[in-house]
């Protein structure tokens, strides 16, 4: 668990959620330790050398002296080196996950969905060309790749950011640019998609439901969507209770 070892394929498929949670946890634990040590050290010395408990200074500064420093460089260099090692190793370690998160796992089967943001709705277009607004249905345990942008025709729209907090996915939706994102949802359920870039007065209400259902249920619904879109949109499948 502590050593990040995926090669980007094969048996170790991981969701974005688990990658994020692991890295976040490590940062949180180390960050807390560093914070407690540094702040503790500072408070301790701040207390220890308070004026009422301190001796007279050996070589006190005098008004009008040319500003110079005091020794102590070795200790400084040592602490600096230590902090640099911690920060650098954290970043190098977390970087191995960046490529995986950026490109997604390699799976033979995957589906693609195009996401277009426009004030103040999300449109989801499937490979069969059908578009749902503010609702996205995807199958459980399958790789879904998104291309994300903002509307340019018929009317230019603004910069949005598509994100689903619980699934730990996010991508900027910029007019004229297409970002990519992927999801591998391993739990059925209804997840909330939100806009994460201020896009106007309706920004707070620019949400959508991401519905994750079983593969069988998705397949039959998707078939219906191809044949009778209106009927399919009336009958959005519901996730099973876990």
């Amino acid at each position: 668990m502590w050593v990040f070892g995926h090669t980007g394929g094969g048996s170790d498929l991981r969701t974005q959620e688990s990658v994020f949670e692991e890295i976040f946890l490590v940062f949180l634990v180390l960050g807390t330790i560093v914070g407690v040590v540094v702040i503790g050290y500072m408070l301790y010395n701040g207390w220890r050398y308070r004026a009422s408990a301190s001796d007279e200074l050996e070589d006190p500064p005098v008004l009008g002296e040319l500003p110079v420093g005091q020794g102590g460089g070795k200790k400084l260099a040592l602490s600096f080196a230590l902090s640099a090692i911690i920060v650098l190793s954290l970043i190098v370690w977390s970087y191995s996950a960046v490529i995986y998160v950026d490109q997604g796992p390699e799976m033979e089967e995957n589906m693609e969905v195009e996401i277009v943001g426009a004030q103040f709705n999300w449109d989801f277009t499937y490979e069969n060309g059908e578009t749902l607004t503010d609702t996205l249905v995807i199958p459980e345990d399958q790789l879904v790749r998104f291309s994300v942008t903002a509307q340019t025709e018929p009317r230019l729209d603004v910069w949005h950011t598509f994100g689903v907090t619980e699934l730990r996915i996010k991508a900027d939706a910029i007019p004229g640019q297409t970002a990519t994102e992927w999801v591998l949802a391993d739990q059925q359920g209804v997840y909330l998609a939100e806009c994460f870039e201020l896009c106007g007065a309706g920004h707070s209400h620019m949400t959508a439901d991401v519905i994750v259902v079983s593969q069988e249920e998705f397949d039959s619904w998707y078939e219906l969507l191809s044949e009778d879109p209106d009927e399919a949109m009336e009958n959005i499948p519901e996730p099973e209770e876990n």
Binding site: G31, L57, G72, S79, V98, T152, G202, H203
Partner: protein, 816 residues
């Protein structure tokens, strides 16, 4: 105006005309505190709205305006001006100068800032101010999405503020490099002055990039240019320009606070800074690196992974110097005699907050985590812990220098009480935001599950706000009836501001400060004046001037002009206001030029490596450096958009390159004639000077004539040149810029062409005014042939720059 007619501080007139750095410092501090209250009220509005998860007191649009204005007011109109209030007051004292290098320009900086704030306030009254967030992302920042003139007004307010910053930047760079006391080398500068020096160097570059971004945005707003609506990368272009400014801006805001911390950590521990030279080197490293990390604000955009990785490495790299600085401050505590006075409590607390902000910032540096944190309250909490940690240190600075500035002591108990309540409120407010980090930024309704954290934050916000009532009460009573402050109220303080009276006299020190013997001494003023060799520009026996009406007049005129400009096409009154304001600006600028204002340079001092460079010439070079960045950003924007469009598919707007080629030769020749004018000035040949200047003006007019013919040719609505001129003079922008045919909004190709060559044309026109002024002075006053040819040289420098800029524009817009 001579010293004896300088009005006393009790007179209102004094505060309108003063150019003294201490008065300007006080004006900055008072005005910035006003904007602090303004921004704080907006913050409390935001927190009140977020008390419940559903609809409450604000609409979506009002909330958008509140968060936008809160950010802009706090960053631009509070934090930096507050810090520069201290910089104005303290830096000249610390380096032993009488005043800044250009006192009148300093007053202009203040008044431009003040009236920029007023323009911003007016934007609220014009159907609502801008509501795109303080980052003003495109294309939401355009009239198509925010049709009220208030949005345009807000952008012009920021542009005016940038003008203020640029003037101030030039002033501080020249002052700190050339007005230091004898024996005070750069290495030995006090840490607060060091921090300001590095801040202004960053400002010079960063604010020029912001100026370019705002000029282009203004062109989109007012003339219908199409940069940020271009689907060929308009949105990304804004993000690049904004963050190239925006990331250094974080350090620009934080560095002065760091300077206050570094001073107080020494004073109140009785220790000198540990690892001083490493701290300085770390700060220099941050200054340089701050321009290489901006894309970490754009990790979720379509930038490719290689560039993101590079930016991530740079970002982590820039956090390391801060580690060193933090450790240096902590180690300075050791073996000291720490006195927890109010200034030190705030600075001690500031470091605690900054450590938390720094650790949570490392999270954001990791790309995988940043992908999720982007646009959430984690970011909001983090930057408040960093930037408001800076604010905390600056409040400590206010208590630290209050006795020096007012000559009164504040109440120590109330000060400590203020800190206690402040610190509790701060952490309750911003730590709650870490806990509710999954919430998107800038939403006014949210999940009910996050209500508890939001309510904690709101309570924290109210406590934080209330703590300032104690501060204002304390300072108010101290000013009215506090005990008199001694010259040096803090044991173990070292820097020169404590070696003069509280408050200091007009000329700062009785004698002339010098560190020639390794410590601060004062020499007799008259002895120095007699002993120094008399330079040109020094008039023995004449007192320096301290008052001018022109800074406030020009700024007020600019205020009127910009309000008019924002509303062009809205109402006839706006057009009148614009024309009247523009004429007023021109007239008051001429008045400024004609005023005989005397501000001598110090006769001796530590100037390395700028020995022998006259301050005006140095200032001109610094200004040109910022102008290079502006043109660089315009050219960069053009290349970026053209790249997105398809380099080869792009068609140059001028069908013929010949007029452009002719113009290139015309301008190059004019560079030669302006040199001739300088050579004749050196030889004392009056007619030669006038002829050289007039020839240069003639070439400039030739250039503009060909240019306007070309524009006219490209703008078929105006059939003839006179017609185009009439349209310009009567401000018929609708016809000039918004008709069928290849007008500015015809395509992105037309927009980039008109806007970039338009920026250059404005530079040419400003040059013509300056050259005309020189020619008139040479003709009417026999100026420049008496050995003082510097103005000809400085305007010549500017003119060469305008010519060189064209040498870059010509191939880009006509040939390639």
């Amino acid at each position: 105006m001579a010293e004896h007619s300088f009005p006393p501080r009790s007179s209102v007139k004094r505060w309108l005309v003063t150019t003294n750095h201490k008065d300007i410092g006080i004006l900055y501090i008072v005005s910035s505190l006003f904007f602090f209250i303004f921004g704080g009220i907006l913050a409390l509005l935001i927190r009140t709205q977020l008390w419940t998860s559903g609809e409450f007191i604000l609409s979506g649009s009002a909330f958008g305006q509140a968060v936008t204005a809160h950010g802009l007011v706090m960053v631009f109109f509070f934090l930096s001006p507050f810090a520069f209030g201290f910089a104005n007051y303290i830096v000249p004292l610390q380096i032993g100068a009488d005043d800044l290098a250009f006192p009148r320009l300093n007053a202009l900086s203040y008044w431009l800032y003040f009236f920029a704030g007023m323009v911003f306030i007016v934007s609220f009254l014009q159907g609502g101010t801008i509501e795109a967030g303080w980052t003003l992302y495109a294309p939401l920042n355009l009239p198509a999405f925010m049709p009220s003139p208030g949005a345009t007004t807000a952008i012009l307010a920021l542009l005016m503020f940038v003008g203020s910053v640029t003037a101030s930047t030039i002033n501080f760079i020249v002052t700190i490099h050339t007005h230091k006391a004898d024996g005070l080398s750069l290495w030995h500068l006090p840490m607060f002055t060091w921090s300001i020096l590095l801040t202004v160097w960053m400002m010079l570059i960063a604010f020029a990039a912001l100026a370019a971004a705002l000029l282009i945005l203004g062109a989109d707003h007012i003339f219908g240019a199409q940069y940020f609506t271009a689907t060929e990368g308009g949105g990304l272009l804004w993000a690049h320009l904004f963050w190239f400014f925006g990331h250094p801006e974080v350090y620009i805001v934080f560095f002065p606070a760091l300077g206050v911390m570094l001073e107080t950590y020494q004073t109140f521990t009785g220790r000198r800074l540990i690892g001083r030279k490493w701290v300085i080197l770390a700060m220099i490293l941050v200054t340089l690196q701050s321009f290489l990390v901006w894309m970490h604000h754009m990790f979720l955009t379509t930038i490719n992974l290689e560039i993101k990785t590079l930016m991530m490495a740079m970002t982590i790299g820039i956090s390391l110097p801060f580690d060193l600085i933090v450790f240096a401050m902590i180690y300075t505590l050791l073996k000291g005699r720490i006195r927890y006075t109010t200034p030190f409590l705030f600075n001690f607390g500031a470091l605690l907050l900054f450590i938390l902000g720094g650790i949570t910032g490392v999270f954001l540096g990791a790309i995988v985590l940043d992908y999720e944190f982007r646009g959430t309250y984690w970011v909001v909490a983090h930057f408040h812990y960093v930037m408001f940690a800076g604010g905390t240190a600056l409040i400590g600075g206010l208590y630290y220098w209050w006795p020096k500035i007012t000559g009164k002591m504040y109440n120590e108990f109330l000060g400590k009480l203020h800190f206690g309540i402040y610190f509790i409120g701060f952490n309750l407010l911003y730590f709650s935001m870490f806990l509710s980090w999954e919430m998107p930024r800038r939403v006014f309704t949210y999940h009910t599950g996050l209500e508890t954290y939001n309510q904690m934050a709101t309570i924290g916000g109210i406590i934080l706000g209330a703590s300032f009532l104690i501060m204002f009460y304390n300072l108010y009573t101290s000013y009215l009836s506090g005990p008199d402050a001694p010259d040096n109220p803090w044991e173990y303080s070292r820097t020169a501001e404590w070696a003069t009276s509280s408050p200091p006299p007009l000329e700062n020190f009785e004698g002339v400060p010098t560190y020639r013997n390794g410590f601060l001494e004062f020499e007799d003023r008259n002895a120095v004046a007699d002993g120094g060799h008399v330079e040109h520009g020094h008039e023995p026996g004449r007192h320096p001037d301290h008052a001018s009406w022109w800074p406030v007049t020009i700024s007020f005129a600019g205020f009127l002009m910009l309000i008019g400009l924002a509303g062009l096409g809205e109402h006839f009154a706006y057009e009148l206001l614009f024309i009247g304001g523009a004429a007023f600006v021109l007239l008051s600028a001429i008045g400024w030029g004609l005023e005989d204002f005397y501000a001598p340079e110090p006769l001796r001092g530590a100037k390395w490596p700028f020995d022998g460079v006259h301050k005006n010439k140095f200032g001109m070079w610094v200004f040109l450096a910022s102008d290079i960045v502006i043109f660089g950003a315009f050219i960069g924007a053009y290349v970026f958009i053209r790249w997105g469009y398809g380099w080869e598919a792009w068609q140059n707007v001028p069908a013929e390159s010949l007029p452009g080629l002719v113009n290139t030769f015309v301008l190059l020749t004019s560079s030669f004639t302006v040199i001739l004018a300088l050579v004749y000035a050196q030889r004392g040949n009056r007619r030669g000077v006038i002829a050289g200047l007039l020839a240069t003006i003639g070439f400039a007019f030739t250039f503009m004539l060909i240019k306007s013919w070309e524009w006219n040719f490209l703008l078929p609505e105006a059939e003839t040149l006179p017609e185009a001129v009439t349209m310009l003079v009567t401000l018929d922008f609708d016809v000039l810029f918004h008709t069928e045919g290849p007008a500015i909004d015809a395509s992105i190709m037309h927009s980039t062409y008109y806007v970039t060559t338009g920026l250059h044309a404005i530079h040419v026109l400003i040059g013509v005014v300056a050259l005309g002024y020189l020619a008139w002075r040479a003709w009417a006053h026999n100026a420049y042939i008496d050995g003082n040819e510097r103005p000809v040289e400085n305007v010549g420098l500017y003119w060469h720059f305008v010519d060189i800029a064209w040498v870059f524009l010509f191939p880009l817009f006509y040939i390639i």
